[in-house]
Symmetry: C2
Subunit: 219 residues, 2 copies
DNA sequence: ATACATAATTAGGCTCACCTAATTTTATTT
DNA sequence: AAATAAAATTAGGTGAGCCTAATTATGTAT
């Protein structure tokens, strides 16, 4: 059997690996899970014994194929639920994380496949994060931070690098939505802010902090 | 905070009270929850201390107003999820119980209100059980077992008294569905079986066991 | 290479929700 | 009313998943 704690550890290891690459440390896990490092050491020994992670003492952990598949499956469920919450239940994109965090642990393969079908097999969640298929395969991600673009580029806003409620609400308030077309008019070299035109209408000035958290694809 | 175990105890106490009236015994709770009677004694002391039940040592327990409201709220969530699973996700009425049993514990008042709205404020779940409103109020239940009806009566099938998968599948196989019109043609006094006509078409013979588990209202 | 700071682990302990076995209470039968 | 059966409780114990404090390992600066 796979417990709630186990699922949360696997998901956290997966996400930390995505973000930082290589090995995931005990302290990084303790930090993201909000628990004590000593507790993490205890727990990773258990899931290492179950072959869900490989554990190098005092160095860190990586997911095994089995563990990675389980982690991806939880992420798949989380993102499908987020789609449902936004598209069908009328939630905003900044309101769904905590609810999806609970729903992702509901156990029923049939439920998830029916949900996926019901939603029309969505490719991405409300924040633009890709949704893996039932076998754990992701579509190729072609997006990059807006910071890597140059004046004159025409791009499409496809995702966020910062999932905080604060950032999501900032974008909502600024009337910037997933799918919007962004034309880069100028880049200020002094502070790296971007002057952009949204959907060929509004011109906006975006700070460096904002620009680095906007993921886009070439239009 | 209210734990999974606590919610399951409250729900079990509520349902046992509905079924048997008066006080709910330790052994009845142990039986329905599938745990040891000693464990039940332990736990009911804890929730009695939280004023969710009133506990008379060696006699049994009853829900307080607070505990009853919590129990009804869990039932409300369970039934709303069942409606969603059947109406929106394409599940059969005999497939939804275990999934709803998990979903009912997801905590978010806003989620449940949005779900209720999304479903069009349904009055009953796929088995005909009434869905209480957000304040815990049930509509008046006018149904009774088909056994209480007589030859010549025209009734509508509105619910089941037995929620077992076996009974639900028997009805599906027999092509008897919620909302069907039932005309009672004859009652066999020897074995209390009913000869009925379903939706003015098929004539069927229903055993005493089946008849007592069909809930109907006068048409 | 040594000292020091930081990270990880070990040891021992806690709470929750369960368990078994033994005992006590309640209800039923004679 | 006493004997017996059934139900409930008490006592003591377990594993999961967390904790703190103490110890050990690792990496960095001198």
């Amino acid at each position: 059997m796979t417990s709630l704690a186990e699922e949360n550890y696997l998901k956290a290891i997966y996400k930390l690996h995505e973000k930082n690459g290589s090995m995931v440390t005990t302290s990084a896990l303790a930090e993201t899970l909000g628990i004590n490092a000593a507790s993490v050491t205890d727990f990773i020994k258990k899931i290492a014994a179950k072959k869900l992670i490989s554990y190098q003492k005092s160095k860190g952990v990586t997911l095994t194929d089995k563990g990675r598949l389980m982690a991806i499956n939880i992420i798949r469920k989380h993102r499908l639920w987020e789609v449902w919450l936004v598209n069908n239940l009328g939630f905003k994109w900044d309101e769904v994380h905590d609810i999806a965090e609970q729903l992702e642990h509901v156990v029923s393969d049939e439920l998830i496949e029916n949900l996926d079908k019901h939603l029309g097999y969505p490719k991405a969640d409300p924040h633009g994060d890709l949704i893996p298929d039932a076998k754990g395969r992701f579509a190729k991600n072609t997006s990059k931070p807006l910071t890597e673009c140059n004046p004159g580029d025409k791009v499409k806003f496809t995702g966020v690098a910062d999932h905080s409620i604060a950032f999501l609400q900032y974008l909502t308030k600024s009337n910037i939505k997933l799918g919007d077309e962004i034309n880069i008019e100028a880049v200020e070299t002094y502070d790296n802010s971007f002057q952009v035109k949204i959907n060929k209408k509004e011109t906006k000035l975006l700070s460096k902090e904002v620009v680095k958290n906007l993921l886009v694809v070439q239009a």
